[in-house]
Symmetry: C2
Amino acid sequence: MTQLDVSEAPAPKLGRKRDHSRDPEILDAALEVLAEEGYDGMTIDMVAARAKAGKATLYRRWASKGELVVDAVACMKKNDLDPARLPDTGTLRGDLIAMIKPRSIEDAEKKMQVMAGLMSVLTRSPELAEAISQAIVQPRAEVNRILFRRAIERGEIPSDCDIDALSMVSPSMAAYRTMVLQKPVDREFLLDLIDGVILPAVGIRPPY
Amino acid sequence: MTQLDVSEAPAPKLGRKRDHSRDPEILDAALEVLAEEGYDGMTIDMVAARAKAGKATLYRRWASKGELVVDAVACMKKNDLDPARLPDTGTLRGDLIAMIKPRSIEDAEKKMQVMAGLMSVLTRSPELAEAISQAIVQPRAEVNRILFRRAIERGEIPSDCDIDALSMVSPSMAAYRTMVLQKPVDREFLLDLIDGVILPAVGIRPPY
DNA sequence: TATATACGGAACTTTACGGTTTCGGATAGC
DNA sequence: GCTATCCGAAACCGTAAAGTTCCGTATATA
């Protein structure tokens, strides 16, 4: 490459531009199929059919099934909550319970199903593993870390709490329950988890 | 079926008997491939090659790939420890730490990898889900339940502990760490888990 | 309104794998 | 040693899915 890359806007004089306006529908369709069928069960035809698009359209935009999936996973990140706008009720228990909302339960369920469908591919696709980590794993852990840190700053829980371990409790147990036990991660389960494991672990006991 | 099933020993007069002497090698090979490649990545040829067996031999014994995998998963159960012969050190912490042995760490790692490879298929194969549950999930939870129950009987921890939730903490976090975070479930991690989450959650604090 | 472009749909190619069959050689019982 | 039976290897078949090509149509820009 002795030549500079000057592939900028090669003057399309006429006709329709190749915008990526259909990307969202396609990526959403891919996520749905992925959640239902898993990586190997998902076919390009299924995705195209669900997005009411042609298979060729998908291949004009993504070079392979793998790249489409990585993109789809990455786009899950936009749904998750802003760490700057977390509930702040004044108590750790209040914050944790305030996180339990039908909307976020639903969103988490979908993400878990997608992750389950990608599990077997993770080890052989570092790209995909990274996408999953960025879109799901890290944000979830970060949210918990923030809540625990605030509780420490308030003096509500001891400052020598193992935050790294504690922030993984909820994601781990929710994932295990969905993927392995195949039981619902509902409000009841989450309340039991908070009052039966997490709060006891940081020394908070009833009465609350 | 008005006729009784009298398919017992139809008098093989001559030649070699069809014993199942090669089953263990084949099932072990299947487990290895399963752990490395996942369900969809595993091919019958791979298993046959690794077991130095012919593909036909596998199909003489199992009707399909699915049945072979179910059998292979089920045969993992024989490796796991007898609930009647668990460590009994007199303290919960002693018991939990006594469970950390290179042998069991290694065994657990293999099981987690197999489970990861089957994750996406679980929802569509109740047979397989049941096999996994019997071979891995239930035994692991049961071991923990026993240790917690004994601690309650000793009066070491409160009797109103949420044993159902607590017995899932270790399996959940180990699974998450292996499958999702792709980090090793080593002695250090398990010690941090015990001292940073489990023991605090049941009210046991240093000095031990 | 005219036209270049992208789109949906469908036909097509290639490859890989599940499953079957065949066959020469090994092996256990007679 | 003889023979029925099983085994491993390899060829073979059918199907399904990744990826490509083609075409008639819709659409945005001029």
